[in-house]
């Protein structure tokens, strides 16, 4: 099918302002938007700069805005968009460096700030084997282990757009993953870190994050569970 593809372009070494390049192309409805961008590089303009790697929705490199909403470019097919007019732009809230590449440092800084690693200084099991965890305990936090740090959620959040000091849904999700992991002992620490104005209280339950997440993580719910844990002082 014929489509019209508009792609956001910005060359920091040349352009004062961003521009849109338009391409008319013949594509298969099953093509991924990433495939379209690769066609652009192959057949029209090889200088188009974007991040991508696995091309099937697990590495998180290619989070972008397609027709105004956040997706992983490799997970959204042309036929999913229901139109032949496709606009691709970089994600919001993070500074655009070039074309579709944004500065991910603030995002990763927020992630690091919530102590996103297992903290347990208790002695290991005497036999050196695994710490026990029941299937129910494992299921408790399984949803938030799925996060690939693609930033689709955080950059779809209106609170984050208005103030990038907000730690963002992704950081809270990764904190949740450890707070509710029965093997972790620093839940209280993380709850205290998130219990501040740029932490969990910036969330207005807009639900953009849950809609944007390519891994179908129930993000708003996870944030709400963290809020509840902060208020009740109980992790359950």
């Amino acid at each position: 099918m014929q489509i019209k593809l508009r792609v956001f372009r910005f060359d920091p070494e040349r352009d004062q302002k961003p521009r849109f390049d338009t391409f008319m192309m013949d594509v298969d409805p099953n093509d991924r938007v990433l495939d379209l961008l690769e066609y652009v590089k192959a057949d029209f303009d090889s200088t188009l700069a974007l991040r991508r790697s696995c091309a099937h929705g697990v590495c998180g490199s290619d989070a972008m805005r397609v027709n105004g909403r956040n997706y992983l470019a490799c997970k959204v097919l042309v036929k999913n968009l229901g139109t032949d007019q496709i606009t691709v732009e970089p994600i919001l809230g993070l500074k655009v460096i070039k074309d579709l590449i944004v500065d991910m440092k603030p995002f990763f800084d927020h992630y690091r700030s919530v102590l996103p690693y297992l903290i347990n200084d208790d002695p290991l099991p005497a036999d050196g084997k695994e710490r026990l965890q029941s299937p129910e305990q494992q299921l408790r936090f399984e949803d938030t282990t799925k996060c690939i740090l693609c930033a689709a959620c955080t950059t779809s959040c209106p609170s984050f757009w208005s103030d990038a000091n907000y730690v963002g849904p992704a950081a809270i999700v990764n904190a949740h993953r450890f707070i509710f992991d029965s093997r972790d002992k620093a839940g209280g620490k993380r709850l205290n870190i998130l219990n501040e104005q740029f932490g969990v209280w910036r969330c207005r339950t807009a639900f953009n994050c849950t809609e944007a997440c390519p891994r179908d993580i129930h993000i708003t719910q996870a944030i709400a569970e963290v809020k509840r844990a902060v208020n009740t002082g109980r992790i359950e």
Binding site: A49, S53, C59, Y117, P135, L149
Partner: protein, 597 residues
């Protein structure tokens, strides 16, 4: 003038092996990780099925069986001392991962859950054994995330989005690497005593692949250009179940959960080729079986694909026929919910890319280029060895898919790659740190960034009469057709000629983007150069090996020939010439036997 940084140990690549190496090296040595991607984007995250270790949590198992299965799986080309080492260390490696927080799926008794996987057997009964430790169907993702988290906890220093383009070797010793900082185009020299290469594989040289765009074999190409040989490059695994046309991986675990392969006639064709363990035979056996079925005209719609059926009706029907039981002895019967809970990510791929619900319809699958058994030759400590006598090049290490220890020989068993990463990542890190602490800082060469700049300048100054996309397409199609699942003399010869032609034409590729900031066009052109070099080495190595073994299958030499070919290939690249040498396989316990499943 380039920026110069000094370290004891520098790790190139931020995937499972690189992060394990960094974590272990950094305990005693000043370490940095340099990666062309953010580490969490590494291809380790795509691994699905599990990490194999003989924990014996559900049924009896032990590392000796794991060793034998791996040796047999390698079609007896694996170095048995390294395999024994890896399978023994695997048990602790899995426990270490759990202690670091990896959220394994659990048994009711709270222990790490394990499931059957292709080629892993109880050596006494010959039946599949539950050896694969897993976290749903996203084990690789969890390993990558957990290791990255631990690196953050231990304050590992990262240079993210730096492309290493050359390795420095002075007086026969490693002296560091040089890289381009993608965000600024600036050149950096990383002056160090030890270098650990962990850059992964090169599946992107084939048309249909499960591999990420990043998998262009940079580490192999960089060392090959410095006169270091690459080992066993002809052995590249074609995973039998990639999504038709896309190549996206459908994990072997689907068959572990009871999925069955069917041809156009509705036959469970693996019964013919692997009568004992059928659909759980190892990958090269199945890919070859698919090729033979295609030749017999049994492929679906004559489009060279087959069906993988994991609907409850089929799973239960064949579980009954096979007499498959659960660990407690009850018959193995599943519901759609159970299947969805075991393979949620696969179901998501099928739905997203095919519009197929795997619990209701069969999945169209075809062989897809998946894993490099070959690579940079190392011993079991990760030290790079550079000739037939296994002479060590001090200070240079390799680990993970880029390395060839060789633990996978001619074919890799599923779940062994994740073990490989963790075990050899750890040991190369420890060994490199120990070496670095006992060694003096080598001197830098006179013009450390010279070769790197030369490559960049060549790409800027060329005529522009050729273009990256065209050359890449021609390369991939040629490789998939003639250096793919099944190979012939004529096909391989044609491939060598074609790749040489493409390498010649590559000299006319000109990068039009003259910018410095995120010049992805430059990087991708350079990556194509890497792919062309590795393709030539692969095709030449394959042409020379006149036997079929593991993943290297030749129509004209269909049998394994231990008398002449029980040896590893070494390939040196000298400009446009590839010269080949051979070194013996280390055999300790298991003399090569006929390999049947």
């Amino acid at each position: 003038m380039a920026n110069v940084h000094e370290f004891d140990v520098v790790v190139v690549g931020g995937g499972g092996a690189g992060l394990m190496a960094a974590m272990n090296a950094s305990k005693t040595a000043r370490t940095a990780v340099i990666s062309k991607l953010y580490p969490v984007r590494s291809h380790t995250g795509a691994a699905q099925g599990g990490i194999g270790a003989a924990l014996g949590n559900i049924e009896e198992d032990n590392p000796d069986w794991h060793t034998f299965d791996t040796v047999k799986g390698s079609d007896y080309l694996g170095d048995q001392d390294a395999i024994e080492f890896m399978c023994r260390e695997a048990v602790d490696a899995v426990y270490d991962l759990e202690h670091m927080g990896l959220p394994f799926t659990r048994n009711p008794d709270g222990r790490i859950a394990q499931r059957p996987f292709g080629g892993h057997t109880n050596n006494v009964t010959g039946k599949p054994v539950r050896r694969s430790c897993y976290a749903a169907d996203r084990t690789g993702h969890m390993i990558l995330q957990t290791l990255y988290q631990q690196c953050i906890k231990n304050n590992i220093l990262f240079y993210d989005e730096f492309q290493v383009m050359d390795v420095l070797i002075v007086d026969g010793k490693a002296a560091g690497v040089v890289a381009v900082e993608l965000a600024t185009g600036e050149l950096h020299v990383f002056h160090s005593k030890a270098v650990i290469i962990a850059t992964g594989g090169h599946g992107r040289i084939w048309e249909i692949t499960s591999n990420a765009y990043a998998y262009t074999g940079d580490g192999c190409a960089v060392v090959a250009r410095r006169g270091i040989p690459l080992e066993d490059m002809e052995f590249f695994q074609f995973h039998p179940t990639g999504i038709f046309k896309l190549g996206i991986l459908i994990t072997e675990a689907v068959r572990g959960e009871g999925g069955i392969l069917f041809n156009a006639k509705g036959e469970r064709f693996m019964e013919k080729y692997a009568p004992r363990i059928k659909d759980l035979a190892s990958r090269d056996v199945i890919s070859r079986s698919m090729y033979l079925e295609t030749r017999a005209g049994n492929d679906v719609n004559k489009q060279r694909f087959f069906y993988l059926d994991v609907t409850p009706e089929i799973v239960n029907k064949y579980a009954e026929i096979d007499g498959r039981t659960r660990p407690d002895g009850t018959p193995y019967r599943v519901t759609a919910e159970e299947i969805m809970s075991k393979i949620p990510d696969i179901a998501d791929f099928c739905l997203t890319y095919l519009g197929v619900d795997p619990t209701r319809q069969p999945i169209p699958v075809q062989p897809t280029a998946h894993y490099a058994m070959g690579g940079i030759p190392t011993n079991k400590f990760g030290q790079v060895v550079i000739d037939e006598q296994n002479t060590v090049l001090p200070g240079l290490y390799a680990a993970g898919e880029v390395a060839c220890v060789s633990v996978h020989g001619a074919n890799r068993l599923g779940t062994n790659s994740l073990v490989d990463l963790v075990v050899f990542g750890k040991h190369s890190g420890l060994h490199a740190a120990e070496y670095a602490l006992g060694a003096d800082m080598p001197s830098l060469p006179d013009d450390p960034t010279g070769f790197m700049r030369e490559q960049i300048d060549r790409l800027r100054a060329a005529s522009g009469s050729e273009n990256v996309a065209t050359l890449a397409r021609e390369l991939k199609v040629e490789m998939f057709d003639n250096v793919g699942v099944f190979r012939t003399q004529a096909g391989l010869e044609q491939a060598v000629v074609k790749v040489q032609e493409l390498r010649e034409r590559f000299k006319q590729v000109k990068v039009t983007d003259t910018g410095k900031v995120f010049n992805m066009e430059m990087m991708q052109a350079w990556e194509l150069g890497n792919m062309l070099d590795l393709a030539l080495i692969t095709a030449q190595s394959a042409l020379a090996r006149t036997e079929s073994r593991g993943a290297h299958a030749r129509d004209d030499y269909p049998a394994r020939d231990d008398a002449n070919w029980l040896k590893h290939t070494l390939a040196w690249m000298n400009g446009d010439e590839i010269s080949l040498g051979y070194k013996p396989v280390v055999i300790t316990q298991y003399a090569p036997k006929e390999r049947t499943y």
